[in-house]
C-alpha cells in the first residue's frame, strides 16, 4: 500500500520538480503574479506617461493579472 512512505517527505529521487511542499510553491505563485502585474502595469503606465493618455494603467494591470494566472495554471495545474 501507499501508506508506507509519507507523501510530504517524498524528497528522494522519485520527486517531480514541481512537487515541492505547498508553502514554498505558494510563495512562487505570488511572485509570478507580482511580476506579471508589475510588467504589464509598468508598460501601461509608460504608455500613459509617454503619450499623455489615461486608462492604460488599468488595462495593463488587468492584462498582467490574466497572463500571470494563465502562467500559474500552466505551471501548477496542467503539469
Amino acid at each position: 500500500m501507499e501508506q508506507e512512505k509519507p507523501r510530504e517527505a517524498g524528497g528522494a529521487a522519485g520527486r517531480k520538480p514541481d512537487d515541492a511542499p505547498p508553502p514554498a510553491e505558494a510563495w512562487t505563485a505570488l511572485s509570478h503574479l507580482l511580476s506579471g502585474i508589475l510588467l504589464f502595469g509598468g508598460i501601461g503606465w509608460a504608455v500613459d506617461a509617454l503619450f499623455d493618455l489615461r486608462g492604460f494603467v488599468v488595462a495593463g494591470l488587468l492584462t498582467g493579472t490574466a497572463t500571470s494566472m494563465y502562467l500559474i495554471y500552466l505551471r501548477y495545474v496542467k503539469s
Binding site: R7, A26, A29, V57
Partner: protein, 67 residues
C-alpha cells in the same frame, strides 16, 4: 498626523483578500486531510484560488499608489 488616505483605503481593502486566502488554504488543508491521495489535484486548484484572491490585493496595492 499626516498621511495618505489611499493607504488607509488599501488597508481596508486588504481585509477581503486576507480572509479569502485563509479560506482557500483552510479548504485545501481540509481536503488533503480527508483524502491525501487527491493532493496533487487539490494543490493546483488551491493555487488558482490563491492567485485569484491575492491578485485583488496586489491590484489594490498598485492602484493605491497609482491613482
Amino acid at each position: 498626523m499626516t498621511g495618505s488616505l489611499n493607504v488607509v483605503g488599501y488597508g481596508l481593502s486588504a481585509i477581503g483578500p486576507g480572509i479569502g486566502v485563509g479560506i482557500v488554504f483552510a479548504a485545501f488543508i481540509n481536503g488533503v486531510a480527508r483524502q491525501p491521495e487527491a493532493r496533487g489535484q487539490l494543490q493546483g486548484i488551491a493555487f488558482i484560488g490563491f492567485a485569484l484572491s491575492e491578485a485583488l490585493a496586489i491590484l489594490g496595492l498598485v492602484l493605491a499608489f497609482a491613482i
